[in-house]
């Protein structure tokens, strides 16, 4: 095995034992990036020189015995997190040359824990998309099949982990943007509880739904990264002022005696037969671990997509009003006066999907339509959350497929926005309710495409998610495969 193919915990062991150095790990990662990146396009910006310099510092620290949770580990960051002094584009032309004057809180925290950054990964423009096809910097390809999309919006972060172009990565999830690409690329991806991880320095899409989380090669690494990023941040007023448990302590506890709810609304028509089969096997596996499964109902599930595509664009239209060509970002050279400059800068700087969502959101919030759309959607959102509150009175965990289908072809859904939106149908409810969710690999289709199973838990129950995910991963006996690149 090459060093870049190993997990965080495996590499940490080697570093501690003196069997390898951070410099060797970083070199292995960049060797891989140089070999496969022309085909994958997982990154927008690479940080090779800084990464190698930081690796030297990490090796010095190790020699002095200063080994932290992520010392010397190369991690990729979705290009939605502000990185001081390093270009942060959010996948958009409008921020093509934006260099943030500060770091996002999670960037600071990861650096404090000793992590090394490999670069900024590709994403749908402003995280609006399910395939990375709306990125101004071109589509990322799925490492398992280069004709297919990796999912999105954090497709670059998922593909980079799957293709061993980093050891782990960070993404953000507004309606499934971590879990959906994790499932389609065959890696682990977690969306924590709203407020568990600080959003300070995360470029805002839909502020009541956005949450940051990890992509990793296994569940233990997910726990390690959660330990690194979770926690209250005085700079972020929606972050939860509550202590963070040691997430690794949940990994070996097992799930004997648990009740796992299977929501009937998530096994509907339109779910691919091979996805369904893989998830049924996961259900059997969980039952074999001493958990009881029961059918439950989340009756408002079918309204989630409509609610999401009112609330998320409404919040986005307000958040994206800041891109006006004045303080930072693209300015059109053709503006005749101030208003004309605003319009031209925004129209030339944003891509079609972002404009579509700004239009939807502006319409939904405009005078005369507010009650019919935004207020109505916010009321139904309360009912969706109530469904989950009721469900968690009867079960510990909810189990569903992560996505309705395996990865689809590049270009397959770009012509019809609603079809694209439907690929998030099983992940959106989590964000509306603010609860945590994790996607874990659960097998492959006959064509060799990965499938993911999703576990959901109540507010702040990330530990339980890691507990069941780790127990499942250990006992699922999945074939170990790597993409053939």
């Amino acid at each position: 095995m090459e060093l870049n193919e190993l997990t965080i915990h495996e590499l940490q062991k080697k570093l501690r034992a003196g069997d390898t150095s951070s410099t060797e790990i970083v070199q292995a990662v960049f060797k891989r990036i140089e070999a496969v990146e022309p085909r994958i396009n997982a990154y927008i910006t690479l940080m090779k020189d800084v990464a190698l310099a930081d690796a030297l510092k990490a090796d010095e620290a190790v020699k002095k015995g200063d080994i932290r949770a992520l010392t010397g580990i190369p991690i990729a960051l979705k290009d939605i997190f502000c990185t001081k002094g390093f270009r942060t584009t959010c996948g958009s032309r409008i921020l093509e040359n934006f260099i943030p004057p500060y770091d996002a809180t999670i960037v600071e925290k990861l650096r404090q824990a000793g992590a090394i950054f490999t670069g900024k990964t590709n994403m749908d423009e402003f995280a609006m998309g399910s395939s990375t096809e709306t990125s101004f910097f071109g589509t990322t390809k799925n490492p398992w099949d280069l004709n297919r999309i990796p999912g999105g919006s954090s497709g670059g972060s998922a593909a980079a982990v799957a293709a061993d172009e980093c050891i782990a990565s960070l993404g953000s999830d507004t309606g499934g943007s971590i879990r959906q690409p994790a499932a389609l690329c065959g890696v682990v991806g977690m969306k924590p509880t709203y407020g568990r991880v600080s959003r300070f320095g995360l470029i805002a899409f839909a502020s009541s739904l956005d949450q940051i989380g990890p992509f990793t090669k296994d569940v233990e690494d997910c726990a390690i990264l959660m330990n690194g990023i979770a926690g209250y941040d005085p700079k972020e007023s929606t972050s939860i002022p509550q202590d963070v448990p040691d997430y690794r302590s949940f990994l070996s506890r097992g799930i004997d005696g648990w009740t796992v709810g299977i929501p009937k609304e998530y096994f509907i028509e339109g779910i691919d037969a091979e996805v369904s089969e893989a998830v049924q096997k996961a259900i059997k596996c969980v039952e074999g671990l001493g958990a009881k499964t029961m059918e439950i109902s989340l009756p408002h599930t079918k309204y989630c997509l409509a609610v999401y595509y009112i609330i998320a664009p409404a919040e986005a239209s307000s958040n994206l009003a800041r891109y006006d060509g004045v303080k930072y970002g693209y300015r059109s050279p053709d503006g005749q006066d101030l208003l004309d400059m605003y319009k031209k800068s925004r129209s030339e700087g944003f891509g079609a999907e972002v404009k579509r969502r700004i239009m939807l959101g502006t319409y939904a919030l405009s005078s005369g339509y507010y009650d019919a759309y935004y207020k109505k959607a916010s009321q139904v959102r309360a009912l969706i959350k109530r469904d989950f509150d009721d469900a968690f009175k009867t079960c510990d965990i909810i189990l569903t497929p992560t996505t309705p289908t395996p990865a689809f072809n590049v270009g397959e859904k770009t012509g019809d926005p609603l079809q694209m939106y439907l690929s998030d149908i099983l992940t959106i409810s989590t964000n509306l309710a603010g609860i945590p969710g994790i996607s874990v690999p659960c097998g492959f289709t006959k064509g060799g495409l990965p499938v993911g199973v999703q576990f959901l838990a109540g507010h702040l129950e990330e530990g339980k998610l890691l507990q069941i995910a780790a127990a499942y991963e250990k006992n699922a006996n999945l074939e170990k495969r790597r993409p053939n690149l």
């Binding site: 309204y303 609610v307 006066d337 129209s347 009321q379 309360a382 926005p417 507010h459």
Partner: protein, 95 residues
């Protein structure tokens, strides 16, 4: 029709966007499709349901009013498309 071409043009103005003729038609048709899909929300009786605006029940997050770190002028202006001295320059606003 949920939304007309004229309404799309009006909303574009509110959002400070402008479209070419062909784009307006395309957006009108796509937005119509999406808004029709959203009609399904009218099947639900939401009388008396309190709208949910946040995922977690949290009150105002107050903190003490103490001076902290802030951006220096130079850093704040570094990304400006047209920054001069201590100012952001914009095209003329008043005739």
């Amino acid at each position: 029709m949920k939304i007309t071409k004229e309404e799309v043009e009006y909303v574009a103005h509110l959002a400070r966007l402008e479209f070419h003729a062909g784009e307006t038609e395309k957006f009108t048709s796509q937005l119509n499709g999406i808004l029709l899909y959203m009609e399904m929300l009218n099947q639900i009786d939401t009388t008396g349901v309190e709208p949910m605006t946040h995922a977690i029940a949290q009150k105002n997050a107050f903190r003490d009013d103490v001076v902290g770190e802030s951006l220096m002028n130079e850093a704040a202006l570094a990304n400006a498309p047209d920054g001069r001295g201590d100012f952001f320059r914009v095209p003329k606003v008043i005739e």
